[in-house]
């Protein structure tokens, strides 16, 4: 930035070196020209508002997903001739310079900044992105959206030419620092030496993203949520209609009822965003919980409820609930209320358990109607 003679801004997403960068920025008098944006979840929006993607690596990367994202956003890329970057970026969509050569980076940026028409670098970046990730120019935007909502489902296979044949790829390949948090390299049994899958592990280590529920649904999510729309409409429309058209009850009571319905809406939105893999994962957790609950209930079934609920004034209601088999047996786990809560929880999880165990599709978001919550 210091070598450039134009006013422009650069962003930086890395954390942990912020203090050092701030000190150097101020010492070089660049405070008005450099913004440290911090760790962001809206990379897609930032890319869309940028003119150039510059990531001058000083070490090799096995694969540069961020470069593909930038290309998918239609940005020319400035980077260095290291690792797999030349396999992604060439002179039709960016400029590659020697590593650790800030003058060349500045020259490349000056060249691109002085060429707003983009004639020197093709703006057909999506066509240069790997076909496995971006299948069409129109698809690039959707892929970018899925990436931002942690819902991307490659794996994209890519040959890592720098990987020595016959060596353990996980031990040899070190993801670049920019991607270390997001990418994991996996070697499949029987795979050719030097060939690894690059896939996103954010699904495994995902963090809640503020506002994620309100982001637009991807086409697959929209397709999968089609039969939920009527329920969303009913849950919203019914109380609103009655609240306005038939105010027959105390407004506070009506508001409570409205709140109860509103509680269900986020669950519908969550359900709409679940892919088949999500359903499988959820089914696994529910299966573990159900097995634990049924195991405890089975113990209670065989040894009786007395060890669990010593007879006293508080548990009296349980012992008055003996209404099974001619009033000779108690409910499991205790009385009417807990039995219904127990059985209701079991019954509600059943569609997810069956759906998660019988899904044929993987990662496509395609589901059958009876797997709906």
């Amino acid at each position: 930035v210091a070598l450039l003679d134009r006013r422009w801004r650069a962003g930086r997403r890395r954390i942990g070196v912020r203090e050092e960068l701030s000190r150097r920025i101020h010492s070089l008098g660049l405070a008005s020209r450099v913004q440290l944006l911090g760790d962001r979840d809206d990379a897609g929006r930032l890319l869309a508002s940028a003119d150039i993607y510059c990531q001058p690596n000083d070490g090799p990367e096995p694969f540069g997903l961020s470069f593909v994202e930038a290309l998918a956003a239609g940005l020319p890329v400035v980077s260095t001739m290291l690792g797999a970057i030349p396999e992604i970026v060439d002179d039709t969509c960016g400029v590659l310079v020697a590593p650790r050569a800030p003058e060349e980076v500045a020259s490349a940026l000056s060249q691109l900044l002085g060429d707003p028409s983009g004639d020197s670098v093709s703006r057909t970046a999506p066509a240069r992105a790997p076909r496995r990730l971006v299948t069409s120019p129109g698809e690039s935007t959707r892929w970018q959206t899925r990436s931002q909502t942690h819902d991307i489902h490659h794996p994209c296979s890519r040959r890592v030419s720098r990987l020595p044949a016959g060596r353990d790829p996980i031990a040899q390949v070190r993801p670049g620092r920019h991607h270390r948090r997001r990418l994991h390299l996996r070697h499949r049994p029987g795979q050719l030496p030097g060939h690894v899958d690059v896939f996103d592990v954010r699904r495994r280590h995902r963090r809640p993203v503020p506002g994620q529920l309100w982001k637009p649904l991807t086409p697959a999510q929209r397709l999968g949520s089609h039969d939920l729309r009527i329920w969303v409409a009913v849950l919203i429309g019914w109380p609103v209609l009655l609240f306005i058209a038939f105010p027959t009850d105390n407004p506070l009571v009506q508001a409570v009822g409205l709140r109860a319905n509103a509680f269900l809406l986020p669950f519908l939105l969550f359900g709409a965003r679940l892919t088949s893999d999500d359903v499988k994962e959820l089914a696994l957790y529910l299966a573990v919980l159900n097995l634990a609950a049924v195991a405890l209930a089975t113990v209670e079934f065989f040894i009786g409820i007395e060890p669990f609920y010593p007879m006293n004034d508080v548990t009296d209601i349980i012992y008055r609930s003996r209404d099974l088999v001619g009033r000779t047996a108690y409910r499991i786990p205790a009385c009417f209320s807990s039995a219904h809560a127990f059985a209701g929880a079991m019954a509600m999880t059943l569609p997810v358990l069956i759906g998660g165990g019988s899904s044929r599709t993987r990662g496509s978001g395609k589901r059958r109607c009876w797997r709906r919550p």
Partner: protein, 107 residues
Amino acid sequence: VIATFVGVFMAAARTHMITVALIALVVTFTGGLSAKQWIRWVVAVVVVGYVVAGDARFQRFTTLQDRSMVSERIGESVNDSFFDAVSQHPLGRGLAGRRHEHSVFPA
């Protein structure tokens, strides 16, 4: 899935027995199961049936055959018509509805 079915029958809650029976019917007739899934499903149903048949405590659903009892039981819980309930409590009666005192539950 087997444990979940057994859990429902173990709790002896007739409402939820009806629910899981309906789910089983839906899966059986509209689930679009593959051959392998059909085998698993049939095995699950047979195992659940065997367990339920083995103990009278799991068979509370058989009381649903007594129509007069069912009518009386529903009459106790649902003592307003649907339209009365909708007109008087359009957003639902919730837990504050009449005849929902805890003492009537065990009956």
